[in-house]
């Protein structure tokens, strides 16, 4: 069985200028929190904050391209943001199989996005995929 309860999968990402700018342009989210460091600092952040949904893009890539098989479809996902991510930050996705439902060929994962030292959690959540 490829997917077993407790199995852990990890993948590292970096929020590069290209990812950040392309995301802003494609989805037209130019909120000053994301674009203007001065604005972000006035709101208590270290610098401009990356769009939280960039992490969802990484999650999409992870599910579609990094899991052991490609025959998958996302049923659901949820994410809770815990700390801001800044430009050029390296983030590590740690994903653990929470349960496997053989009856409906469905796998439930929980995940965390952390910094590379695993000392800061940027976001955590879960997603459920079907094996097609």
């Amino acid at each position: 069985m490829i997917f077993q309860k407790g199995s852990v999968f990890t993948e590292s990402f970096k929020i590069s200028d290209e990812i950040y700018l392309d995301f802003s342009r494609v989805f037209k989210d130019f909120n000053p929190l994301h674009m203007n460091s001065e604005f972000a600092m006035k709101k208590g952040f270290k610098e401009k904050v990356m769009h939280g949904n960039i992490l969802n893009g990484f999650l999409s890539y992870f599910i579609g391209e990094c899991l052991p098989i490609k025959d998958v479809i996302i049923h659901s996902q949820s994410i809770n943001y815990k700390n801001p991510v800044y430009l050029n930050e390296e983030v590590v996705l740690i994903s653990t199989i929470n349960d496997f439902y053989e009856s409906v060929k469905t796998v439930e994962f929980k995940f965390r996005f952390t910094n590379k030292n695993n000392s800061i959690t940027f976001a955590r959540g879960n997603f459920q995929i079907g094996l097609i």
């Binding site: 049923h75 439902y101 053989e102 009856s103 409906v104 060929k105 469905t106 439930e108 459920q128 079907g130």
Partner: protein
């Protein structure tokens, strides 16, 4: 837990998953009797039942059910 109590619990799960307070299951209920109970929500319903009732089904078992009553019988047999 007897079959009637189990039916109440499963009914609550269906209400939660399908977000429909009007659902009232009985033993003869089938997917065609419940709005939004389709092939995709069926997966969510089975997952929710397995999780909340703490049972595990096989694909063979769920394919054998013809109505809610047969699902409950399967749960009670475990």
């Amino acid at each position: 837990m007897n079959k009637d109590e189990l039916l109440k619990n499963v009914n609550e799960i269906f209400i939660d998953v399908l977000d429909d307070e009007t659902i009232l299951l009985d033993y003869s209920t089938t997917a065609s009797d419940v709005e939004d109970w389709d092939s995709l929500t069926h997966i969510q319903l089975v997952v929710a039942v397995e999780k909340k009732i703490k049972v595990k089904f096989t694909s063979k078992e769920i394919q054998s059910w013809n109505n809610v009553g047969e699902m409950l019988d399967c749960i009670l047999s475990k």
